[in-house]
């Protein structure tokens, strides 16, 4: 069975891809489909429960929660992709170099990975944010800079198992440079596991961003993000349950979507599962 057949056969994977595609569509079409301006304050209509006019209710400034969530989807998407892209880039380079060259370079890089893994990631992110202004760009960079260790280990393992294969020897025999062997010959063979790590990484980055924004050190208001709508939910916990319920559901569904997709890609690309 080929990759795509395996992929299509699994309904859960399809559901995951459906969620991810839907999120893309919502993000791109945010200006068109959001029923209200996400920043439009309506003090006549503060903390209104869900109704026909405002499906998900309004927040403490009378802004439409559904519109803010639609625009928040953009933030999640952006943070997920940029942060994970950075983590994958760093992890890929370090893992490739460590696995390809071995020896003291490998020892040095892997020791660095061990040290970084000692830090509770959330602590490290908070500490760095404490010194920088909390902005969406800083958040993305910091999440990326603290999330590359797993990818490094993964890519290194792939490189170690691939570097002695015949196709690598052949490439070396015809005089290909190290960079060429690493990027053109070995890396494409490691792409499947990198893709899985990236998909799961996006889910993780979205979770981290929402937690940071919830704590008030992530995406800053008035920019809407799922995490900072939940902050308002906590502030109004005894009167406005809708502020707490819907944005959290959005995060949950999004993360489930990316996780399903990631596991689907893993199963489809794992030769041991092919029959």
């Amino acid at each position: 069975m080929g990759f795509w057949e395996m992929f299509y056969k699994n309904k859960l994977t399809l559901a995951g891809s459906g969620i991810v595609v839907l999120l893309f569509v919502v993000s791109i079409l945010a200006p068109v489909i959001s029923p209200y301006d996400p920043g439009a304050i309506d003090l006549q209509n503060v903390l209104a429960p869900p109704s026909a006019g405002h499906w998900f209710g309004t927040d403490q400034l009378g802004r439409d929660v559904m519109s803010r969530m639609i625009w928040g989807a953009r933030i999640s998407l952006k943070v997920g992709f940029v942060a994970t892209g950075l983590a994958i880039f760093i992890g890929m380079i370090l893992g490739a170099v460590a696995g390809f060259y071995g020896g003291w370079i490998d020892a040095l890089i892997m020791r660095f990975v061990d040290i970084m893994l000692c830090f509770p990631t959330f602590f490290l992110i908070l500490a760095v944010i404490a010194f920088l202004e909390p902005s969406i760009w800083n958040i993305m960079i910091v999440i990326g800079l603290t999330g590359w260790m797993g990818v490094t280990r993964l890519v290194r393992a792939d490189f170690i198992s691939l570097r002695e294969r015949d196709f690598v020897r052949a490439a070396r025999a015809i005089g290909a440079s190290d960079a060429r062997i690493i990027f053109l010959h070995i890396l494409p063979n490691a792409l499947a596991s990198i893709l899985v790590a990236a998909t799961l990484g996006i889910a993780g980055a979205i979770l981290t961003e929402s937690a940071l924004s919830f704590l008030g050190i992530g995406v800053q208001p008035p920019t809407p993000s799922w995490g900072n709508i939940l902050t308002a939910g906590k502030d109004n916990i005894d009167i406005a349950w809708w502020l707490s319920l819907y944005p959290g559901l959005a995060i949950l569904i999004t993360v489930v979507g990316y996780n399903l997709l990631g596991e689907g890609i893993r199963d489809a690309s794992d030769p041991r599962l092919k029959r």
Partner: protein, 313 residues
């Protein structure tokens, strides 16, 4: 161990110097009352006027004596004191969470594996999948709304009720326990999914081994095969997973301690980050990493103790 510890201090030191300009600027700029003299005092206090290698070494020397500096907050207390008085609460909650994770996740994982593809297994795998994706702070909010606001069963903030002083010792313990239920549950939740999934996979792997076939072949009851022969072998690698989950637990303490207003190290960390109390932030970052290191060490040692195949040479 020692190189790791040194590495941790280097990273901490690097993070400290990440801020644009001098780190003390943050303190002096935020404070309109700060004078040039105060700036100079701060600079010499952190030896920021010296080369970076000298700074690192003298910082390390202080660290070796347990001196983490003086907090920037208005109480001007030593950072080590501030952390030490809050550390026990955080450790107790994390320890309780670990306990709950083990007690709940191991049976779930084992039963799912033994009854593979049963209804229980399917329900549990959905639970595990959702458990991985739920933002714990959101779950905490929902729990607070449900148990605290709607039903009024459990307190949602702090560790003690207002009338704590007037309760008998027994009532005080009940009061404390009631305050701890939600935070411990939230803190354990993430790890629960991870470990039960891991236990299931492990158990499935072990059940296929030859020695299980041997045990069955010599006529042992299914109960003995599963709980004596298989479980013991499946439990071993779980120790490592528990060790690996420690940084997540400690990191998570920032979130649940802030939400539930628990006066632990996580809450101190959050408040210090918000107030840019920079020596305290560094101190807690360091302590968090050291705690992780110690946790992993304990996991490694107990693995070696539990598994006769591993001998420390």
């Amino acid at each position: 161990m020692v190189p790791l510890l040194l590495g941790i201090t280097v990273i901490c030191f690097f993070v400290m110097h990440l801020a644009p300009g001098k780190p003390t600027d943050l303190q002096t700029q935020m404070n309109p009352k700060s004078s040039a003299e105060m700036k100079a005092r701060l600079l010499s206090m952190y030896e920021l006027d010296k080369p970076i290698s000298v700074q690192y070494l003298s910082w390390l020397k202080k660290l070796a004596r347990g001196d983490l500096g003086i907090s920037f907050s208005s109480d001007h207390r030593p950072v080590s004191d501030k952390i030490l008085e809050r550390l026990p609460i955080t450790i107790v909650i994390n320890f309780l969470s670990l306990l709950i994770i083990i007690v709940v996740a191991v049976p779930i994982g084992v039963l799912s594996a033994v009854h593979q593809d049963s209804l229980f297994d399917k329900v549990m795998s959905v639970f595990v999948f959702v458990g991985f994706a739920v933002p714990t702070f959101w779950l905490a909010l929902l729990m607070m709304i449900l148990f605290g606001v709607q039903w009024g069963w459990l307190p949602i903030s702090g560790l003690r009720s207002l009338n704590y002083e007037y309760l008998s010792t027994w009532e005080q313990m009940i009061d404390l326990a009631r305050h701890l239920i939600l935070p411990v549950f939230i803190s354990a939740f993430g790890g629960l999914a991870g470990l039960s999934r891991y236990m299931r996979a492990n158990m499935l792997e072990v059940i296929r081994q030859d020695y299980i076939l041997t045990a069955r072949a010599k006529g042992l009851s299914e109960r003995q095969v599963i709980y004596k022969h298989a479980l013991r072998n499946a439990l071993l690698p779980a120790i490592t997973i528990l060790g690996l989950s420690i940084p997540g637990l400690i990191g998570g303490s920032v979130i649940f301690e802030t939400i539930f207003a628990i006066p632990g190290m996580g809450q101190l960390f959050y408040m210090s980050v918000m107030a840019r109390d920079y020596p305290t932030v560094m101190g807690i970052l360091l302590i968090g990493a050291v705690l992780t290191l110690v946790g992993n060490l304990i996991a490694d040692v107990s693995y070696a103790v539990a598994d006769p195949r591993i001998r420390i040479s």
